[in-house]
């Protein structure tokens, strides 16, 4: 599969279909895998694909430094592909201005304290029902295998991984749940790694950075931390694609993906809406339908 990716990218660069390919390569220490930006066909050998490719590269599509390199190709896992779709649906990128190379992903492994890969899959992968990336220009990998994995996960998808963790939280009493999040947020240092690593946190000026007047305390105090983390979750309601980039990047290990999953579940249960599933789908919060449940619509 790695070779298929390399060949595809080499061809795209040689034929000048794209100017830069955003892919995974060995960066950092101990063979860690992270984003690399390949602009020359001879450099495609640096590209890698393995179960340690945990970053969502779609975050780079809206970075001005990357945009300056020209038209991109991007390697996406199925969850990352949904982020690209949502970026298109929210008019942040034009679909024809990016070449999307999707992969069949068999699951991404968690990193240990030193950042080295373990054997354990991410929670989000345990409930994954789409092992082949959708809405892509080119899909690499074994589609039959993807279908098989989808079918294996299907019966239990709502009872494992993050869904199981969330179900446990929902069983708590309201004061217990409040205490749980109070403890989680007390670890927050307000570095905003969650926001910066999120492909859908692309606001030019985040409300947390507004200071005339200040909308949210920038302090790492209980008030500031609650305001920030809850506000971010709400701003991702009906938008989060569940890639888990926020939780993976959080230096304090806050279970941010559970907050987002709560709202994603609500969007699906109440409106049958899954962010990033279809190109051209109107944003949930930015649209209405006469069939919506609330009477005030009519």
């Amino acid at each position: 599969m790695e070779n298929q990716i390399k060949n595809a990218i080499r061809k795209l660069l040689e034929e000048k279909t794209v100017d830069v390919a955003i892919g995974y390569g060995r960066v950092g220490v101990d063979g860690a895998v992270g984003a690399i930006f390949v602009t020359k066909p001879e450099d495609v050998e640096r590209l890698v694909w393995n179960s340690n490719c945990r970053q969502n590269l779609a975050v780079h599509l809206t970075r001005p430094e990357v945009k300056a390199l020209g038209k991109p190709a991007i390697i996406v896992k199925p969850c990352d592909a949904r982020a690209v779709v949502t970026l298109c649906n929210e008019a942040q990128i034009a679909r024809e201005n990016v070449y999307v190379v999707g992969v069949v992903c068999e699951g991404i492994v968690q990193a240990d304290a030193a950042g080295n890969p373990t054997e354990k899959l991410y929670d989000k992968c345990l409930s994954c029902l789409a092992h082949a990336a959708q809405n892509v220009d080119l899909l690499v990998g074994d589609q039959a295998k993807a279908k098989e994995l989808d079918e294996t996960n299907a019966p239990n998808a709502k009872n494992v991984g993050n869904q199981a963790k969330l179900a446990k939280l929902r069983e708590m009493s309201q004061p217990e749940r409040f205490a749980y999040w109070k403890d989680q947020f007390s670890k927050c240092i307000r570095c905003h790694a969650c926001r910066q690593n999120c492909p859908l946190c692309y606001c030019n000026r985040c409300v947390a950075d507004k200071n005339r007047p200040t909308r949210i305390d920038s302090s790492s105090s209980p008030k500031g931390n609650f305001a920030w983390n809850i506000l971010r979750a709400f701003h991702l309601a009906g938008r989060c694609v569940g890639c888990g980039a926020c939780a993976a990047a959080c230096p304090a290990g806050i279970e941010l993906d559970l907050l987002n999953l709560t709202l994603a579940n609500a969007a699906e249960e109440q409106f049958g809406y899954v962010s990033g599933r279809e190109l051209g789908q109107a944003p949930l919060i930015g649209s209405y339908a006469m069939t919506d449940k609330e009477d005030f619509i009519r």
Partner: protein
């Protein structure tokens, strides 16, 4: 002869201090992750050397959020009340040698043109007990910046885990001696730290390259994958930038200091809309300049202890060591 203390005796010693009103700060496991935090019950403390902590002991000297003064406004009258003096005593136990080493590096900064009582009082009132390292990982590079797995800078005492439920105690200052006086027993056992980390670069030529290559395109290239959050700075034991903001309402509130990071675009954004560090490359250059050129020029210390916390916490696998290695490559290819 060496001095040793059992883990139980160490906990008892700390508990006695706690009973006398001293705050104890020690590693606590929250899930699988270890955090330095105030402990009420010593049994909750995870007192063993480890490579990774999610936070630095920095925050007990330079808190993430600290009040400078509070204000109350009544009509045209404004009442200001200074934040109270820091009068508590505290003991930080279990620090990595590279974490403790940040304290003497920060001392001159907080006692330079402005005498920062917030830092100075905490520093004076704190005893630091470090644990010599038992292992290193690929992020560690203490020896490149003058440290060692058994480095003593910034610590009042250093403990070596002996593997039999006890530690060898080496007191380094009067504060350390006062803490352990009468608590240790003589032994012929001595502890040793692990081997130093493997490093294949030197700081000096990289610092020279940084000094002479302010406009190099290398900065943008190496920083392309950085997404501009503050994680590296906030977990760093030496990064010390802060923002000053007012919180509260028109009539009542406080002026506070909050940690800030040069890696965010907002850090240098002018009111005009102009940003002198408008790209991530310029921001990364600032970070490396500050650590390896500006700070050593001014205070004779690298602003880095080689602890590796930045790269361990980085969402995009960047950080000081990966950056230094990339710059070392640039430096060697510019020589050839």
């Amino acid at each position: 002869m060496s001095q040793i203390i059992t883990l139980d005796q160490l906990k008892k010693t700390l508990a006695e201090k706690q009973a006398q009103g001293v705050d104890i700060i020690a590693p606590v496991l929250r899930g699988e992750l270890a955090f330095f935090q105030h402990v009420d019950d010593l049994e909750k403390a995870a007192l063993t050397p480890r490579v990774r902590f999610q936070n630095s002991i920095k925050e007990f000297f330079f808190p993430r959020h600290e009040t400078i003064f509070s204000f109350v406004r009544q009509g045209s009258d404004v009442q200001l009340t200074d934040a109270p003096e820091f009068e508590r005593q505290q003991i930080v136990v279990g620090a990595r040698p590279c974490d403790a080493a940040s304290l003497p590096i920060l001392d001159p900064l907080f006692a330079w043109d402005y005498q920062d009582r917030f830092f100075q009082q905490r520093r004076a009132n704190t005893t630091v007990v470090s644990f010599a390292c038992k292992e290193t990982d690929g992020h560690c590079f203490c020896t490149a910046v003058g440290g060692a797995p058994d480095g003593t800078a910034g610590a009042d005492a250093i403990l070596f885990e002996l593997g039999d439920g006890s530690f060898e105690v080496r007191c380094l200052t009067d504060k350390g001696k006062a803490l352990f006086a009468g608590k240790t027993s003589e032994s012929d056992k001595t502890g040793a730290a692990c081997e130093p980390p493997k490093i294949d670069f030197e700081i000096k030529p990289i610092a020279d390259w940084i000094r002479n290559n302010f406009s190099s395109p290398v900065w943008e290239e190496v920083s392309l994958r950085c997404v501009g959050c503050g994680a590296c700075a906030f977990v760093c034991p030496t990064c010390h930038c802060f923002d000053i903001v007012d919180e509260g309402s028109y009539s009542k509130g406080k002026r506070v200091k909050n940690w800030d990071s040069c890696q965010t675009a907002l850090f240098t954004l002018h009111a005009s809309g102009h940003n002198p560090r408008g790209t991530q490359g310029k921001r990364q250059r600032q970070r490396m300049m500050h650590k390896f050129v500006i700070y050593p020029d001014k205070f004779d210390f690298n602003l880095c202890t080689g602890c590796g916390a930045c790269s361990r916490s980085c969402g995009v696998m960047f950080g000081v060591r990966p950056c230094l290695e990339a710059l070392a490559q640039a430096a060697s290819s510019s020589e050839n």
